[in-house]
Symmetry: C2
Subunit: 397 residues, 2 copies
């Protein structure tokens, strides 16, 4: 059983800040600075080029992929780290489309993260083969799975509302219709229990800078089902996905299994941060994490709803249908969030009217939730969003 009072002590949290934005960018693990400094000074500095072997830089995308795999229900050898999430979405979707050459419909929902949709649009335009990206409301996805479907492409947890799709059910429906199921775990990995193998998902992608706490610009990951890993075509066929990168052959031959989903040179400094973050995750029981996440989000919803009648819950009330965040709609949400941030409660705002709060049991506890609720209540009850200082236009949040 994970002791979350101990994990909280493993993070540097700014003085006076209740950080409810770990679903956007996780905070700094205390060991990360030294871990990164070791890579910079002892490895890059002293080993230079030989670090690729001696410090095992080249192996890290796979070894760290396996450690992420444990958190998302993937057996070792089926996850590899690299690139950004947008690139991994493109890579997975391109491979998925290849598996169903006679079908043209890619189904997603309007709660998917825009970049996933944009990458799909770009791929479809490049292919010029008549594919259609069908974007439906989240609750209508199941009804749109039919025998035309090529790929079901969803983000499991809606970035705005925290609404969670039933991965097992929708994957099974997609398979019954002869389609491929591809999941974005951006708001799932490290947020809840994921069982990719148990759900028989075909592809999954995710990022490591949110719940996994690997820092700004941390790399993404990709999972390919064992059913496809040895045969799938990597559309982004980079040299490090080659069977023998250092043979420098002129012809591409895909590497074994998931290795073929590597593309270019791994981001070694970002991987050092990921290593530090995963060292915490290696000891976490995901079932205990999920229970604690639900306890915190329930506590928060009950507290805010009691104190702030103007805030309308945008997340599902049923915790089984909710990820590890809670969102409220409020027309003055941007300014209200600025007022909260000024008082030390850091959530974020998503246009047009969503105030979003992430609950991350590794470093947020019941006392934080109580304190956050009290500050949000003060902001709402005193109408602090009316103050001109909080009204400026959103830039990056």
């Amino acid at each position: 059983m994970t002791d979350f009072s101990k994990t909280k002590d493993m993070f540097h949290l700014p003085e006076g800040m209740i950080y409810l934005d770990g679903n956007s960018l996780g905070p700094l693990p205390k060991t990360a600075a030294a871990r990164i400094a070791r890579t910079v000074t002892d490895e890059w500095g002293e080993m230079v080029i030989t670090g690729w072997n001696r410090a095992e830089w080249m192996a890290q995308p796979s070894t760290m992929g396996d450690r992420i795999g444990r958190l998302i229900g993937a057996a070792p050898g089926h996850v590899v780290v690299g690139d950004t999430l947008s690139i991994k979405v493109y890579q997975a979707l391109a491979s998925a489309i290849d598996l169903v050459p006679d079908r043209k419909v890619i189904l997603t929902d309007s709660g998917n993260f825009p970049s996933d949709i944009y990458m799909a649009e770009g791929l479809i335009k490049s292919l010029s083969r008549g594919h259609e990206l069908r974007v439906v409301a989240p609750e209508d996805v199941a009804a749109h799975i039919d025998d035309d479907l090529a790929v079901l492409m969803l983000t499991q947890v809606d970035y705005r509302t925290g609404r969670m799709h039933d991965m097992a059910d929708l994957t099974q429906r997609a398979h019954s219709a002869g389609a491929i199921a591809m999941w974005d775990l951006a708001h799932s990995a490290g947020a809840l229990e994921v069982d990719l193998a148990g759900c028989d998902a075909d592809f999954a992608v995710g990022c490591t800078y949110k719940y996994l706490n690997a820092g700004p610009g941390a790399p993404a990951f990709i999972y390919v089902s064992p059913r496809h890993a040895a045969t799938v075509r990597p559309a982004l066929s980079g040299w490090l996905g080659h069977e023998a990168p250092f043979a420098f052959d002129l012809d591409y031959r895909p590497g074994a299994g998931i290795e073929r989903m590597r593309v270019g040179t791994p981001p070694v400094l970002q991987l050092a941060a990921l290593d530090a973050a995963l060292t915490i995750w290696d000891e976490v029981d995901m079932s205990a994490l999920r229970q604690q996440s639900i306890a915190l989000t329930e506590q928060f919803i009950v507290g805010v709803e009691a104190a702030c009648p103007d805030l309308e819950l945008a997340s599902p009330r049923d915790p089984e249908q909710r990820g590890s965040q809670v969102s409220f709609r409020f027309a003055q949400g941007y300014a209200a969030m600025q007022a909260c941030i000024a008082r030390g409660v850091v959530g974020d705002f998503r246009a047009p009217d969503i105030m979003r709060f992430g609950f991350t049991p590794l470093f947020i506890d019941e006392g934080d939730v109580d304190a956050a609720v009290a500050i949000i209540a003060e902001v709402m009850q005193k109408r602090l969003w009316d103050e001109p200082a909080y009204q400026r236009k959103a830039r990056v949040t």
Copy 2:
């Protein structure tokens, strides 16, 4: 005039090592450790999510792109940093192909880096529109430029031999034939004078971990000519290339100019290292660098040829046709390089028989060249490559 004795002091070079592999991975700038630590501790640690604005993480791909632009003949606003070089090759080629929809031939040479060729193969297979990747010998490129050509896709300096293409001439030939010219500057940026605007190149890509010294896994960059930047379609249409990423619209609208070539979240820790590296480059006169590079490579060739008759020069003898590296062919090259490395002269080996040495005036001087020549001469004259310890199979070099 750049004082190269001063720049040498700006790098950490391992004790007893003559590092002739800066063309593969540049060494650690002395300020990098503190610069990265600042980003980790003061920015990620203290600002967390607000670092995207307060520490200007979001702006860095453009501001650092401009600083690289100065080194390669690009005006501000035409270079952006991100992803790996392989991804940037794919991105540039996909956009280039779009500009010449009625043509099907992509011409490259067998001296191009394999990953560029692999990425092109992968893109062509995805497109399934009958494109052909024509791979010719480097010296035959000009003769193969004809009215069928869609895209001329070359790496300016051959990674094995250091042979340099005439960018101005070949770009002009491509344009005369109605084709697009795309250049990979992996072994050019920071190695020699590049004038993208003067050559009227259409696209260029490059990496920052070689001559630019930004560390293992440092990001790539992409240049798009002002003639195309405002109209080109970004095939990898990620959210940070959107006109308004934080509006979270469901439809993709490309950002202004080069901004549309951004894809996903910038690698902030790697960018901190790049910032440290560029702080050195900001003061370098590229003409002086090129003169010094030629002086060092000439000194090295004369020295090695005099002492090592078994080594066959694989690089052009004319410095005007050579990048900033010198390569020799030798059947026992792998073992001979291991023997050199064991004696502190670090170059690298490229299959099947290339011993490769990079000359980087920022931290390699005439004394280093003399010392390296003496050690290589000892290895060759004493046939040290025969020692079993040096005979093991190449892994990563």
